[in-house]
Amino acid sequence: MSPVRIIYTLGFFFILFVVQESAVSLVHFPISGFSLYLALAISLIAFEDHNGAIVTGFLAGIVLDLSPTSNAPFGQWALILTSVAFLFAVNRDSIADVTSSPITFVIVVAGGVTLALIAYLCFGALLGEENGSLGHDATVLGGNLLWTVIFTPMFLPALRKAHEYSLTARER
């Protein structure tokens, strides 16, 4: 991943973070909430190659760690999203090209978001964070899964074009 793309990606994640914290979080979703940030971050990770996915995961995590509402220590999201990105990177060849089929892509993104949230919960529990009752956590996970499945197809074409546009001639 070139330095220019790292700057682009950081800028993109920061704008996305502002949108998530100031607009998306104001919407009262019927079942829990929706993290547009996580859905787009996992989608972008799925588009990237091995090294690109890992760096994108780390950058997405670092920006998400800036959230002033978070109780977790700074760096926890970076650790989680880097690990999830690595899982994507090593398994993407075995599950074929996920970007070629929209349905597969949506399932993979929704699964990735849920996996990231579960990993966040587990790591938080190891650090002694209070994460609420099992029922509440299940509702948050289920709600995020549902809304990710519903909303991902809406932004997928635009994200694909934006990603292709950001690639350098060598990366294409």
Binding site: S25, G132, D137
Partner: protein, 314 residues
């Protein structure tokens, strides 16, 4: 993947994971760099959140009302445009009215407790990317708000100030899983600890193992030293289910809060409180409870007073 590429990927992964762990360690050891970065983010975010909240509040309600787009008749289009404008104004007005009503009610509660408060509007809710439950309010340290101050709504306790900037503050809601507050039962004055569970229900653990909890018991804040983080006497909630089994070492109960945390428009931060607890509890009517008043009709057989025994007419 080529061997060289695989090694590079693994090296990159290890470097980034170690970096993340380094940040976590710094944060857990209380290094101000990481805390400061979140404070800077809040400062940057707050004007955006305030603007978006101002725009989004009436528009959010308006979305539900707008129907019948796509009509071809010019007159109808004109009428719809006028209607849209009026509805938008109406939505904005009803939003303002709702906020005014909440502000009046919360100031009323604060006035009864002789609390000095700073009123603030809720401009954002906690991110869905984490499991913490917070709100952001549009008043900060310039209004005298500091961390660890009690936040109340018209019905009672809402939470506690977690962090502040000059113009905003983040409030940890009482439903947050890490939230704990000392409470006392109004009936028996028994003291316990109320914990958030991340949902609309709360868990109460009584400190006195011989104490009893009854369904319907009203809970008030017990207060903290120097009135921070909690001032005494603020209504917290009502017991909806008590577990008084003899086998358990502690008495526990399930509690519903007085404040509806999903419907917060205006809240107040208690800046100072009287040194003594309010002489009488500040008990609002719980929101979900419908009170039905029944006037008993005089009966020739039974006396309405519970102390009198039924008498037979001879």
């Amino acid at each position: 993947m080529a061997r060289g590429g695989g090694n590079r990927s693994r090296l990159l992964l290890v470097i980034l994971l170690v970096t993340a762990l380094f940040f976590i360690t710094l944060d857990l050891r209380g290094v101000s760099l990481t805390k400061g970065s979140r404070s800077v983010t809040q400062t940057i975010l707050s004007p955006v959140q305030r603007t978006v909240s101002t725009i989004f509040s009436p528009v959010g309600r308006f979305f539900g009302d707008v129907k019948n787009f796509g009509k071809t008749n010019a007159e109808l289009t004109q009428a719809l445009a006028a209607n849209k404008l009026l509805k938008s104004k109406l939505a904005a007005n009803s939003d303002s009215k709702g906020q005014l009503a909440q502000l009046k009610a919360v100031l009323d509660l604060a006035g009864r407790g002789n609390y000095k408060v700073a009123a603030a509007r809720v401009i954002a809710r906690g991110s869905a990317s984490s499991f913490s439950q917070t709100i952001t309010i549009d008043a900060g340290s310039s209004s005298g708000i500091r961390s660890n101050m009690t936040v109340i709504s018209q019905n009672g306790l809402v939470g506690v100030v977690k962090s502040t900037t000059s113009s905003t503050a983040i409030v940890m809601l009482m439903s947050d899983p890490s939230f704990k507050v000392g409470v006392r039962i109004a009936r028996s004055q028994s003291v316990g600890v109320l914990s958030g569970l991340g949902s609309t229900e709360y868990s109460l653990v009584l400190l006195d193992p011989s104490g009893t909890i009854k369904t319907g018991d009203i809970l008030l804040t017990n207060g903290s030293e120097g009135n921070r983080p909690f001032v005494p006497g603020v209504p917290v909630g009502v017991v909806v289910g008590a577990d008084n089994s003899a086998a358990s070492l502690t008495q526990t109960a399930t509690v519903n809060s007085y404040a509806n945390l999903n419907d917060l428009g205006v809240v107040s931060v208690v800046l100072s409180a009287p040194t003594t607890a309010p002489s009488r509890p500040l008990l609002p009517t719980p929101n979900p409870t419908v009170t039905v008043y029944v006037t008993p009709t005089p009966s020739p057989v039974l006396s309405p007073t519970p102390s009198a025994s039924p008498t037979k007419k001879k």
